[in-house]
């Protein structure tokens, strides 16, 4: 049952807002003890307070900070992290001809390297504690599956496609430890990251013509899929990337 996260220890990077916060909240509702990891101490603390969770702080690009934060979360929660959700990420729009190398590196470092570093520390914790089992859920994007000339971001797309490849490799390498790894690929979700509706008319036209369900998704709807993948309901599901996009990638 996906309701049963009874006392399970979870960590959500980027858990202070958007899809990350919705996921942290849903995990807590279903019985998990949750650590929120964010770069900003105050933001992390305030978000954790809303779900009676714990707050840890790290820049996910930094291996030492990540190791310290994941270890701190495990100490505060009373054992190794069993559910690790990699929701920390940034979105940038820039055409290939204008995009600068610094921005490219920043997007790849946060979205891709960060996902690897956080999950690596969580699984290291499980293995060191001799705990078999665990679930990783990485946030990719429909942008990791399809291109979009009207809202270009090759660095973002590459980072999210990279997350899918990373997920499959995690699934293959960590299966012997009983750890499952899956990804979700959100489409147009109503968060502060969304740019689609900056032009409401064009945005509505997109929803009418490109989204079979004809509407934006809510962060809670992505969280519900993440929580399913993290649950025992998905105990034979590993290495998959599930679009949560109202059908966009079916077109």
């Amino acid at each position: 049952m996906s309701g049963a996260f009874e006392s399970r220890r979870a960590l959500v990077s980027g858990g202070a807002g958007g899809i990350g916060l919705a996921t942290a909240r849903l995990l807590a509702e279903r019985g998990a003890r949750v650590a929120i990891l964010d770069r900003d101490p105050a933001i992390s603390r305030d978000a954790a307070a809303t779900i009676e969770g714990v707050a840890v702080v790290a820049d996910v690009r930094d291996a030492e900070q990540v190791a310290a934060a994941v270890a701190q979360a495990a100490r505060d929660l009373g054992g190794p992290i069993e559910v690790c959700v990699n929701a920390a990420g940034i979105y940038r729009i820039a055409s290939l001809l204008e995009l600068g190398p610094e921005e490219w590196d920043e997007v790849l470092a946060i979205n891709l390297r960060g996902s690897w570093l956080v999950a690596r520390e969580a699984v290291r914790g499980l293995v060191a504690a001799g705990v078999r089992g665990g679930a990783i859920v990485n946030i990719s994007s429909t942008a990791g599956l399809i291109a979009d000339a009207s809202e270009p971001g090759a660095h973002y797309n590459a980072s999210k496609a990279g997350v899918i490849a990373l997920t499959k490799q995690m699934a293959a390498e960590w299966a012997p430890h009983g750890v499952r790894a899956n990804a979700v690929c959100p489409g147009v979700i109503e968060t502060s990251m969304l740019r689609l509706m900056d032009d409401p008319v064009a945005g509505q036209t997109y929803l009418d013509h490109q989204v079979p369900l004809g509407r934006l998704g809510q962060p809670e709807e992505v969280a519900a899929v993440i929580v399913f993948l993290a649950s025992d309901e998905a105990s034979y599901v590993t290495g998959v990337a599930v679009p949560v996009d109202g059908g966009v990638t079916s077109i």
Partner: protein
């Protein structure tokens, strides 16, 4: 819990709890029907074998408040399907969901040794059958106008071909694209359509394949089974409960923005 999560929370979910499960007499279909009944659904079990009535009666005994009915029908026959879906909708008082699970394996045969009849039979049950049932159920759902959800059973062999599986692979790949087309057509009506693609499952259909494999490898059944298992990252065969968990999720509002997708339930076999 998944089946109980406030189903009327959002557009795109399933507002009721009345489902048809095909191929439900035994195996994965029975496991799915059993799970749905346990979650509080009213379920019509459809199968080509009479045994479906026994299965339904046994399930009904576990849930006194649920309406559980067994209907004998061949999903590859248009008249059977129309009759079965009409009967299910009558008995259940409408429909909200379909699990299109009925399927046959076909034998492990190279294309050059496959007769036209044998190829047709696999396509007729797995692909045409899924179309016929989905068409009949979608017609009911559209008339009701209250949304719904359809889950079609594909296969890992519909995502990746394998020698000796041409008919089966083609039928299951067809199911995946049937799902996509249906999702696009039915999305505007808040009806979601997805595929669950099982890998190596502990079912009679798979053990048949393992027996063929044992003969080819000239080894015993256990050795052939262990050979298959060694190629599964999670190190075990899947169970009916594994499939039922994913189907129950896809039918629930926890999947309210998921449509047109194929979800592998395969222990990590397709990693490339």
């Amino acid at each position: 819990m998944v089946g109980h999560v406030s189903r009327d929370r959002r557009q795109g979910g399933v507002s009721g709890n009345r489902a048809i499960v095909t191929g439900a007499a035994r195996g994965l279909g029975e496991a799915v029907a059993s799970r749905l009944v346990a979650d509080g659904w009213h379920v019509a079990l459809v199968d080509v074998v009479d045994e479906v009535e026994t299965t339904a009666a046994a399930l009904a005994a576990t849930a006194p408040d649920a309406t559980v009915v067994g209907i004998v029908a061949d999903v590859s026959r248009e008249n059977d399907v129309e009759r079965a879906v009409t009967q299910a909708a009558d008995v259940l008082g409408g429909l909200d969901a379909l699990v299109n699970n009925a399927g046959i394996g076909g034998s492990d045969t190279p294309v050059v040794d496959t007769s036209l009849d044998a190829f047709h039979r696999v396509l007729d049950v797995n692909l045409v059958g899924s179309f016929l049932v989905a068409r009949a159920v979608a017609t009911v759902l559209l008339a009701q106008g209250s949304g719904g959800a359809i889950v079609n059973l594909g296969s890992i062999l519909g995502q990746r071909g394998e020698a000796g599986s041409a008919a089966y692979s083609a039928s299951k790949a067809g199911v995946t694209l049937l799902t996509q087309a249906l999702a696009l057509e039915l999305g505007p009506h808040a009806i979601r359509v997805n595929t669950v693609a099982p890998g190596n499952m502990a079912t009679e259909m798979h053990w048949e394949y393992v027996r063929d494999l044992a003969a080819q490898m000239d080894v015993g059944f256990d050795e052939a089974r262990d050979h298959v298992r060694s190629g599964i990252p999670l190190g075990r065969h899947g169970t009916g409960d594994d499939i039922a968990g994913t189907v129950a999720w896809l039918l629930s509002d926890d999947a309210s923005y998921v449509t047109g997708q194929t979800i592998g339930v395969n222990g990590g076999v397709v990693l490339s």
